[in-house]
Structure formats: structure tokens, C-alpha cells
Amino acid sequence: MERLHSPAELEAFRKAVLADRAPDQPCITLCAGSACHACGCNDVAEAVRVELAKQGLADRVHLRLTGCHGFCERGPILVIQPESVCYFQLTAADVPEIIEKTVKAGERVERLLYVDPDSGDPLAREDEIPFYKHQQRIVFGSNGSIDPKSIEDYVAIGGYSALAKALSEMTPEQVLDEVKRANLRGRGGGGFPAGIKWEGTRNAPDPVKYVVVNADEGDPGAYMDRSLLEGNPHAVLEGLILGAYAVGAHEGYVYVRQEYPLAVENVTLAIQKAEELGLLGDDILGSGFSFRVKVHRGAGAFVCGESTALMTALEGRVGEPRPKYIRSNVRGLWNRPTVLNNVETWANVPLIIQNGADWFTRIGTETSSGTKIFSIVGKITNTGLVEVPMGMPLRDIVYKIGGGIPGGKRLKAVQTGGPSGGCLPEHMLDLPVGFDELTQAGSMMGSGGMIVMDEDTCMVDVARYFIEFLTDESCGKCVPCREGLRQMLAVLTRICRGEGRDGDLEILEDLSVVAKEAALCGLGKSAPNPFLSTLRYFRDEYEAHIRENRCPALSCKDLIAFHIDPDRCRACGRCRRKCPAEAISGAKNVIHQIDQDLCTKCGTCLEVCPDRFGAVRKISGEPVPPPLPEDQRTVRARG
């Protein structure tokens, strides 16, 4: 590749790339993100190649392997341009028909289309499918249309033009000012305004400064940073270069977790290509500005995503947080001023520089500008990555985009903000998702993980689960976190077992206050959130467990029992045959009953008992009715 020496040369390069591509030449894009990899997109890609060759279309139809499209649950996903016809859940066997019908004849393969669950109509285009229709994918959108391994693809959609604009038309102060005016808040956790962080670094007297991408993403179940870095690494890099220019850094790092091999591969390649083109390195685009980036692989420990721990790890030491009352943007990596921002935060920067702060602040709310990418999982019909303008009510995310709760169940709560976030109850679903709104409600934005829970979820157990995760992830350095969480877990476990005592809630509250106020790093400080938010909204569930030995969600195994209603049992014998514990006795015409001592509470009996009988009941907080005397166990004929 020829090195580019000026913005004009970049523009010429872009034109050359575009000229090479006929705009209406069909292009098949296939999602090759990690999730689709896992469900066989490689085989589909191979089938497309073979089939195109077989039908003599290889040089008339382009196949492009892209990053994640977001609708991971329905992968592998294939989209045919220019019409944007989407097919979901493909196998290699579907490919010949797709090429034959859609590519050659412009017809649709009905059975592979998305079917609207309400109307039953097949929907062909992304912008018709509810999952996509209600999103606003300004950051994540290009993921599905470009090949992350091709810098030409990124340049073709206007990539690096924000950089060219900044270097040729704007001073570093103007770039900084634009980001400040845009009120871009950190997408990785606390929502701290990026511009103010940058300004602190820029103004710090030390001439050596660093910029760092936090791509550690330790939140279980969240994978937006991975998808973005995998699918559009140049957008993150371009943001980083702009940040470096604004604060006066000449060296930067991308801290990626080891477990994200494709992200490491794609960002490493992106750096190499950008260097070859002269978009990184010395004298970028002839501006005199020089900047280099290195990739650092971190061993995935949740706490290593915390800023001081991450920097310690970057310096090559054990990634433990350190106490700091001087911010990292003034004294960070190797005690130099350092801007550390999240992947998604960086990826927003080129858009802001390109389109201006006013454009950006028009999206979202007064205090939370722009969009946010969420990873929605749990008891929800459409799981995946979604990008919405901030301020969208939770309800719209769950129902319009997420398609609601499957199985006719009721929604109980939405957990936002990752393991140390909080649970918001059903009645708060109209809350607009913004940084401050979520914090006020006792939860947080965090990195954007969102777990939907239905009526079968016990909120005490949810708190116990997250505290357990955090106990495992605590680095163990400071006592409110290491010992406090250990004890919180012990108390919550006891409560879930029906061994809760008076005073337990006070102990939990004491430990929460101490962790919040006195722990060293953000992990410990926010760790009580799962408890505090569930206590705030579901106090009755705690009280039911402690006082009545009752689990209202009928979920905590130690507090429930299965019982066969003698009036409804028809002695069909299904439960007896299926019970793995052989806990059920009965015979033909003999009412069945469960031996509570043998029962393992697996729930199989409840599942297999035919709906028309509905004889098995799950009960909690009340005694199990005594077994019937033998002489009353014969099934009576019923009217």
C-alpha cells in the first residue's frame, strides 16, 4: 500500500476504492463475529464461495465477511446487498437456493426470512425487522457492512475522514472542545465526561502523555466491546488517534483480554494497515503529528478492567488496584498523564468530529448524549446487541426491540449495569435509560449489560448470585471487599436456604455501607448494589424468606416442595416413571404421592404432569399436606 501524505491523498485513495466497486454489484455480507463463528458461519461462507464459483458468479458477486450484526441469537446471518435481504439461522445447505433464487432471480427464500411474531408476515429487510427498526445504530451500524480486515472497506464508508479533518482544519484544542461540547460520557462504567478527562491530561504539565483503550470487558454476558473491536477496529483506532492529537500523546495502548483472540487479531491487523497507509506512525497525513499504538493482551480478571489495576497490569505488574487520590488522567500509566477510555467511548469520537457536537447532542437526552450499545440477555425473545439513543424507555428496549418475554411469563425485573449494577422492577420500566436516571434508581449504566428476568426469578437469589461472582472476582487487597463480600455471601446463602435470622438485613446493610464507603476500588464500592437494589424494590421477598421460610418466586430449592393434589391426580403414572429420584409412589388407579425425603426438587413431575390434570404443585412457606392413608388412595370416578 502507498503511504498517504495528506488529506487530499486520503480522499483520492477513497475515490479509487469506490471506483473499484460498482455500487449495484450484488454483495453478500455474512456475519463472522464470534457468536456466528460459534454457530457455523465458516461452513456457510465456504458454501457461498463454492456455489458462486459453480454458478460462474465469482467475479460478479462479492462475498464479504463482516463483524457482528447484533442479532446473535439468529445467527449465522446473511444479508444480500443492495436490497438488504436478510436470512437468518442458515446452514451451508441453504446456500445454493439463496444464490439461485435471490442473487440470480431477485426472489426471496421465504422460509429463511424473519417472521414477524405479531402478524406472521415474513420480513425481508433489516429496516423492517422490529429488532433493528427501533435501533439507532450510529456506532455499531457499520459493523455489519464492512470487513474488519480491510482498511479499504473502512475508508470507503468515510473512515479516517474525521482524522483528516482534525489534522488539517482543527487545532488540538478545537478537537478537545468539540468532544467537551458533545458531552460524550464514558461508555465503560461511570459515565465520566470524556472531554473533561482529556482536558486534565492535556493541561497536565508532564510532556509525556498516554492514551489507552480499555477493551478488558470483564462483565459476564456483555460483549459489545468485543464485537465493536472485532467488527470495526479502525473506528476505535481513529478515535484513539483523535484523542492522542487532542491531548498531545504520542503513544497509545489497546488493552484487550486474552480470551478475545479475534479482537486481538483484527485490531493488530488494523494497526499494521493504518501504519502502512500513514494514518499511524510518524507525520500522520503530513500533519507533523506522530502517534504509535501497541496492543497489550491481558489475562481476563474482572478487576483488571478497573482503571488503576489495568494500568498496573500494563506496566507489567500484578493487576491490583492501587489507592489513588490523584486522578489517572494526571498521574496514570508510569505516573504520566493518561487518558483511559472504553472501546465504545473511543468509537464515538470520529462521529463527533465528523458531524459536530451539535449533531451528537441532538441524539439522546439532556445529560446523556448519543447512543448506547446494550447487550440484552436473559428471559427475552430476541437476545443480542442493540444500540439505542439514550433516554429510550426500558420498556421499549425490552418489548419493541427485545420482543418481550417468552413463554407467556410476566416480566419481573431488568438488571442493568453488569454484576455490580442493580435490578429495576416492572413498575419502573418507563424509566428512560440514561446515566443519571439509572443511578438515581439505584442501578447504573455500567458497560451496558442488561439481563431480563421473569416471574420465576427469586430476587434474593439474584443478589446472592452476583455477590458470589464479585466475591470470586475481588482481588482481595482491601478488607471491606474481601471480607465484607465473603460475609455478605454467607448471609445471603443462608437466607436462600431458609436459615435467615433476625438481624440479617442489618448485617447486610452494615456491610454494604462499609464496602461502599471504604473499599479501595470501584469493584468493592459498587459490589453491594445487587443487594441494595433488590432490597429497595423487593424487600418483601427478603422478609418472606427470613420470616416465613417462603420463596415467593418458588425458586429457592431449599424452600420449595412439590406436591401432588390428590383430587386432581388421575394416576396416569407419568411423573412416577420420569422422576429421577424414584420419589413417587402410586400405581394404576392409585393416587400418586411424593416422598418428600427422597425428592430432589428437580421439578420433572411438574413438567410431565399433563396440563389437563395439572396435579403437581410447587409450594413454599406452607407445610406439605400429609400423605393420604392407603385406603383413600384409589382414584374415584369424577363427574
Partner: protein, 200 residues
């Protein structure tokens, strides 16, 4: 070096720039309890017992005084009800591990901490890191260190270094607030490097 003036518990205190709030308080004879602090060692900030309230420009915040730098016009309170609560609970957490350690018992008395509030788990080390840091920073031997992470974290002697160095040093032993260090050493000594071998 210039001086900064601050207020600790209503008292005007002057301290050199760059000092910590803990140092400033100690200089003024205002006691703040610590378990992981030692003048000869880099501040570590792990026990959190030295937590105090600072107020700056109307904003109140809890900070650990052993690492928090003094600043002109800072207001510090070392004994508010919240701080008492924090210290009491921290001590209760420690007492689950080492209920008989004299230093902890004395502090428990002062802060009304209940040694039986939490189920006992007698792993006596309270992870103050004094031994580890003393050996590394002062003796530069690294004979003892932390292994594992989180709730599984514990101290461990590095056998070959310990066999070579510890028997003639033992300077870290009196630093240990729970005497666990000594016990751990005796254990390791018995198993890994019987005495004759050492002196040979």
C-alpha cells in the same frame, strides 16, 4: 518545602506539602487507628481502618488517610458516627479470623466491635501485608509473599529464600498484628527446612 494548613477535628494543623492526612494527624497528636501502615513502608491502603471524612469545597467524602495527601484548607473529621461504624464493622470482620489478637482486641474495645458478629473462620492472617512489604521493601529479600487472589489469598514463604534468609532475620515477626506470621513460619520451617539443614 512549603507548608499547608488544614483543619483536623476542629484543630488547625500545619503539615509539609506532600504529607498524608495520617502523617499530619499523627504530627498533631490526633490518633487514627491503622493496621496496615508502617512509617518505613510505602502506603498500602488495604485495612481501611484509617478511613476519615474530608471536606473540600463543600463536598464530603470518605478517604483513607494513609494515602490521602494534605491540601490547603482541607477539613478532616476523624471520628464521625459513620466512621465509627466503618471501623467497627471492619474490626468485626477481622475478629472472625483472629479474635484473640491483642491489637484487634484493644481496638474492638474502643469501637464497640462484637467479636462474635460473624462466623469464625480461623485463618489468622489479616492480609495487612506488613510482612510481605517489609521483606520486599526494607530487607529486599522477597522471602514471603501473597499467593492466590480474593478470598483465597494467603501469605506464603518462598521456601528456598526463606530457608536461606529468615532464621537469621525474623524482623517482620513483631510487625504482624496477629502473630500468625510466626506460626506460619514455624510450620513451614518444620516441613520444609529442618533446622540442621539451615545451619549447615
Amino acid at each position: 518545602m512549603s507548608e499547608v494548613r488544614l483543619q483536623i477535628d476542629g484543630q488547625e494543623v500545619a503539615a509539609p506539602e506532600g504529607a498524608t492526612v495520617l502523617e499530619a494527624a499523627q504530627g498533631a497528636g490526633i490518633p487514627i487507628p491503622t493496621l496496615c501502615h508502617h512509617e518505613k513502608l510505602e502506603p498500602f491502603g488495604s485495612c481501611r481502618l484509617c478511613t476519615v471524612e474530608v471536606e473540600r469545597g463543600g463536598r464530603k467524602q470518605h478517604v483513607v488517610s494513609c494515602v490521602y495527601p494534605v491540601a490547603e484548607g482541607l477539613t478532616v473529621r476523624t471520628r464521625t458516627p459513620e466512621i465509627e461504624r466503618i471501623r467497627r464493622v471492619i474490626l468485626e470482620l477481622y475478629l472472625a479470623h483472629a479474635p484473640e489478637a491483642p491489637r484487634l482486641k484493644a481496638l474492638a474495645e474502643e469501637y464497640g466491635a462484637d467479636k462474635d458478629r460473624f462466623d469464625k473462620e480461623s485463618s489468622f492472617c489479616i492480609h495487612c501485608g506488613l510482612c510481605v512489604r517489609y521483606c520486599a521493601e526494607v530487607k529486599k529479600k522477597h522471602a514471603v509473599g501473597f499467593i492466590n487472589r480474593g478470598t483465597k489469598k494467603e501469605i506464603a514463604f518462598v521456601p528456598d529464600i526463606a530457608a536461606r534468609e529468615c532464621w537469621k532475620c525474623k524482623e517482620c515477626f513483631p510487625l504482624c498484628p496477629t502473630s500468625w506470621l510466626q506460626a506460619a513460619y514455624v510450620l513451614v520451617e518444620g516441613i520444609l527446612f529442618p533446622r540442621e539443614e539451615q545451619q549447615a
